[in-house]
Symmetry: D2
Amino acid sequence: MGVRCGRVEHYANAKLVEEKVFKDPVHRYIHVRDQVIWDLIATKEFQRLRRIRQLGTTYLVFHGAEHSRFNHSLGVYEIVRRITDDVFRGRSEWDEQERLLILCAALLHDLGHGPFSHAFETVFHTDHEYFTRQILLGNTEVNGVLRKVSEDFPDIVAQVIEKKYPNELVVSLISSQIDADRMDYLQRDAYYTGVSYGHFDMERILRVMRPREGKVIIKSSGMHAVEDYIMSRYQMYLQVYFHPVSRSAEVLLNNILKRAKQLNEEDYQFALEPTHFKAFFENSITIEDYLALDEYILLTYFQFWMKEKDPILSDLCSRFVNRKLFQYSNLNPEEEPERFNRLKDLFAQMGIDPEYYLYHDCTTDLPYDFYRTGKESTRLPIFLLMPNGEIRELSQESLIVDAIAGRIKSDHKVYFPKEILHDESIDANLRNELHKLIG
Amino acid sequence: MGVRCGRVEHYANAKLVEEKVFKDPVHRYIHVRDQVIWDLIATKEFQRLRRIRQLGTTYLVFHGAEHSRFNHSLGVYEIVRRITDDVFRGRSEWDEQERLLILCAALLHDLGHGPFSHAFETVFHTDHEYFTRQILLGNTEVNGVLRKVSEDFPDIVAQVIEKKYPNELVVSLISSQIDADRMDYLQRDAYYTGVSYGHFDMERILRVMRPREGKVIIKSSGMHAVEDYIMSRYQMYLQVYFHPVSRSAEVLLNNILKRAKQLNEEDYQFALEPTHFKAFFENSITIEDYLALDEYILLTYFQFWMKEKDPILSDLCSRFVNRKLFQYSNLNPEEEPERFNRLKDLFAQMGIDPEYYLYHDCTTDLPYDFYRTGKESTRLPIFLLMPNGEIRELSQESLIVDAIAGRIKSDHKVYFPKEILHDESIDANLRNELHKLIG
Amino acid sequence: MGVRCGRVEHYANAKLVEEKVFKDPVHRYIHVRDQVIWDLIATKEFQRLRRIRQLGTTYLVFHGAEHSRFNHSLGVYEIVRRITDDVFRGRSEWDEQERLLILCAALLHDLGHGPFSHAFETVFHTDHEYFTRQILLGNTEVNGVLRKVSEDFPDIVAQVIEKKYPNELVVSLISSQIDADRMDYLQRDAYYTGVSYGHFDMERILRVMRPREGKVIIKSSGMHAVEDYIMSRYQMYLQVYFHPVSRSAEVLLNNILKRAKQLNEEDYQFALEPTHFKAFFENSITIEDYLALDEYILLTYFQFWMKEKDPILSDLCSRFVNRKLFQYSNLNPEEEPERFNRLKDLFAQMGIDPEYYLYHDCTTDLPYDFYRTGKESTRLPIFLLMPNGEIRELSQESLIVDAIAGRIKSDHKVYFPKEILHDESIDANLRNELHKLIG
Amino acid sequence: MGVRCGRVEHYANAKLVEEKVFKDPVHRYIHVRDQVIWDLIATKEFQRLRRIRQLGTTYLVFHGAEHSRFNHSLGVYEIVRRITDDVFRGRSEWDEQERLLILCAALLHDLGHGPFSHAFETVFHTDHEYFTRQILLGNTEVNGVLRKVSEDFPDIVAQVIEKKYPNELVVSLISSQIDADRMDYLQRDAYYTGVSYGHFDMERILRVMRPREGKVIIKSSGMHAVEDYIMSRYQMYLQVYFHPVSRSAEVLLNNILKRAKQLNEEDYQFALEPTHFKAFFENSITIEDYLALDEYILLTYFQFWMKEKDPILSDLCSRFVNRKLFQYSNLNPEEEPERFNRLKDLFAQMGIDPEYYLYHDCTTDLPYDFYRTGKESTRLPIFLLMPNGEIRELSQESLIVDAIAGRIKSDHKVYFPKEILHDESIDANLRNELHKLIG
């Protein structure tokens, strides 16, 4: 036993003979010296993240945004590595023993993401956090590597990712209002889309981070760099993440999956048997089922389904693959239910199924916020360390952050195929009314 | 008829009500004002380029290199647009009538590329230039748009791309030693990989380009900017395009396709019928067959094939998908044929098929060169316009370019699975000899 | 007469044989095609701007900020050139006749700035706007060039710079809340200081600018880019322009000039006759006097004055030249007049003249604001053109801008030589009290 | 004594309570933790470097190049700090004891530079390396700080700067073909001028540097990054450092100083007594004399001298201050001595003193080379560490470096006032001949 423990400990501390680097456009280089990290990157579950885009359908608006979650995961790891190795090292409130744990959690935090997560989770009620735990604990290569550190290591890593680990300081490095996750994706998404937002002085923020009272605290001298970071988030959400055309592609995705599920329920005979989807249709998903899916598989199905006999599935897939997206109108069905209901009726009268061709989308349903305090938030807010030693929540000190905290307006839109506006096979009266309703 | 011609001419000159822009990380914005260009971008053949990566397997070494040919094609278009609209406009040797032609050719020059072109063309003897012409002239959306300009317009565009168009000036904008194609991809590939090479002063080069004697000539005051561009190419080829690990992934690709083709010839029963490959196996490829393939489809097949019974196909696919690449050794079989032959024998003795597990790769087989003059080159060299009006070829004037022109050494490597070096199930004597041979 | 008019008009439209460019780190290239602009740049009054720094004493905090007003003036010109040549050209509400006028005004808007303007104007009650007019209208090379355009052209250029020109559209290009002046200096100052603030998407802002109802209006689709610009200003003011250490150097400058003036009034015999200052001491300043001063001259005087017998002048100059700056304390004399008065008394008791060694500085006295609306502002606010054609003031639409508009807190500090805190030649009781008062 | 030694040692190792940073555009931040470094930066001799430009007259061509030697010196320090603290630390061939020594030498290596060094040294035969030693060893603030480390520390620092220190490894960090000096100035000069050359992957070069056999060796895997660095130098020299217009301003400087010296020899009565120059005219220069000069003082004298009665001095100064530079012609007097002599005669006939108005300038006289091997070079060449442990000189391995090593062509030009070409007061026959001769 002793020998085994010995080996186990040895592995946790094993260093590569020579540091390895990955060239990274955002952080210049990603540095790896730990054998554990190197082995995790080589697992097939981690390599699978190359086949899932970081920004889902955004590449259909910002053509540069073709980067994968693999990229981003390495970036989050690198930021956490710099915090632990350069900023926290040697500080009394930081326990060096937790270094490997947080590095692994940073690297693996997105491991359970599936293809086009948001749409997928909406239709099939899956949960990427649940699957992250399953992959960490199940019969996987990642689990094999982590267990070589210690038997309970996979579970501890899962706890950190799930924000259940007792030391909030460790958790907050990857899950708080100013964590490595957000700092990486803002910069990375800005880099790949090419937008000029998303820049902030991360060097400065890292330099003023302090482990204190079990949290990551920012020295108040860095407050303006943090404001800049919050503003970057605000701009990225409004300009990139909530972009209405990208949401339009999400609508198609959503409806494709919904239609396939519905057809399956109706015992429709698919020309290509939807093997990969069976477990999802039937809600009995194993880790293998889950890991077998990626965006390459999905887009391949969609291309097969373009030739299915069902006109709705075929049309929706064709639209997605060839980027013939839905149009949008600023109608808010919550404020104008009658107008929206009349629209539905009109669609039905025109012979167009509103279930799949008329979609009400609202940004508050999206998995983003840019700064929110109070009980509705699950993320730790940002705390400042004042010169007098006091700790204060950011929005109490910052004019700008206070102004925008939690006040984002939800944006309602209704999506529909624009072709019907000009489809001369449709009764002119109906079309006229449609024009008026749609605005 | 007259009316029809009228409409046709009108379409060639039609402008969008408001200029459209694409946010681009390399050129900041891509500007589109021509209806024809806008319509071409919306075709499904052009949208398909989103599903083919610009740098094939390079993303397995430089994780940022996940960008598609869609990106690059827009970039080439934008550079040509700037040359025609900002630099050449109004110059006596430039005919404004050829503007739309060259814009279309720039946008569409890569249209015939298939998934992982190089490996694909090696195994199936296809030719992306041939398919570019087929797509331009065949029953496609792209053809539909081009024909609205004029009946012969698709053919003229094809001629420009094929370098057969009589006006060399037009051809050389997208096919010469310093064309928009290269200027875009060097910068774009550098941006996405994150390497520091690939930067040069394109603004300056554009400013000193002149249409002269049916060619694009560079004013000699811009010679140093051109030297910098040539050096960027040199560095990108050695550091990125010829990277041995990326070539290792190419080797796998090549052998996967070769194996599948071989199995098909042997009437092997695939668990998943390789529908998309049938035409390629049988060398009777229609445009539809060709366009149906993309890297999403390929990677989906590879994932299916990981479960095929044939151990070679299954293993090779698994290696590619999960990035368990071959190792390389600097052996040059042309110089040491006996050593290489002995290696092959050893592999056979070990029960490992050298046909699929031992691969000799040489960079001169790769579709790149960084500057070559003389008859072996198919590209127009770079000409300088001297202050006295004389025109001279670049390498006669530039010390640096002369030093490197055409002198790149071909790099020979032999690829093999590194696991066999440590596979204890293999006879120790054989492994010892292997270690010695492999160096 | 006719002939002369002919020549005059000819000069206004004269183009250089070949466009000239200046390499510029911020805008990449500054393009000049007009002979008038080329000739203005060559005048000695414009070349003098090379000897006046853009950011006064800021280089003593941000060592990169050594750039001159010459730089900035070219930058403002280039932005205006792009607006008129690329954005406004051809739009019905823009009169091409005003192009040269606004280009000249942009280039020359800072012509009347003297060395370390702010301190200079405070002590000598000069006004750079007044001197701009004098230089434009007086016997100068600049005037000679402008008069070649037309007799009244110098005066019209002055009117634009003074915001008295009737066409507000022209004025607002260089004097409004989002003018070329601010857009250049924010980016330029960020570039040279190296701070990460100051970036915003100027390309986008330029693209959405529209001449409308005699003003520059921003299409509301560009609102977020404008918000980003406002935030950049906010950050640059707080982080760079209001930096307390840079203000400390300003305090020294102010007191040096005040002391020299005072000594002159007391008929003190300077070892080096302050020839260049005579006119300023006596408040009878000619254009020649004004133009003869620059920061090179000032720093030379300061080096001479380091050796003057007057201990105060000598000490203050020595501090400035060798960067031995004053310390600051967060005391606000307006809120705590007694504490401040007691400080003054203490200084006097210690034999340290509070007139020159204790300074109350407040940022609201500084010539900056980041966005202010209402009657207190002399700058046109930013107007948005809504999709429905309505025009709205920015802070009514933007959450963020509304939050910060006009709400900047003034920051009070008291500056003093830190050495006295530890000067053992001073009575210990006095020093103890000083420590307590200063906080 | 023991106590004193104790204190002395303590000072060498003293760390600031909190690390200080300078915001730097090139290296992002300059980090200072050593009390010695902090104190050196605060000395007046080091602060004086703010008043001497890094690139002399280059700002008259590239307006952005207004940065000072202060900037650059901090940059060299930072690069060396990163090498010693991040790259060399812990390696067996690096002695941690030499860390402070090399940091001080890096920071202070340019301390002895005077205003417009090159012209100054040409006319007055001064030597900045000699004065560096004088400042380090003389009665200066810098000497006071260094002596607190140990009595002989100033001398040891001087030895390193003079390349006489026995440990070549230490010397070569700041004086070799790939030292911190060059790596900083290439990047910094590129940044401030805005040219696109000057970029290379310093991160990579730093990572492959190794202390070996008393030298800094580059691992051969980094050869291409080094090639890129050599190419950057090549481009910067040809494009920026040798720019003919900047050399034209140097010609004026040279002739101004020469004229002033000549007038002094002729007992000319200067209206403003040239106090600061006396010691230089008489060649009896003390450290105080030397340190009293800077570019602010010089430009102030030039402005005074614009009003001197001597027409040559007055004219030359006026030209320099107001940037009315000389024209150049590509005549090489060494190849065409008769043509050049005839030119001189012509000038004399026209009443224009060729001594001050006709100048032969050659780039090989300039203090730059981009890569030279062999005995003519005083710099250590670049050595590569090959995979087999062998050490080879770079140009033996690199095609490109071999091509350009030591082969730069010297560029000859003749400078003269262009006005005489069009001066109608000069005899037309003379002018015609002039036109022909000048080409």
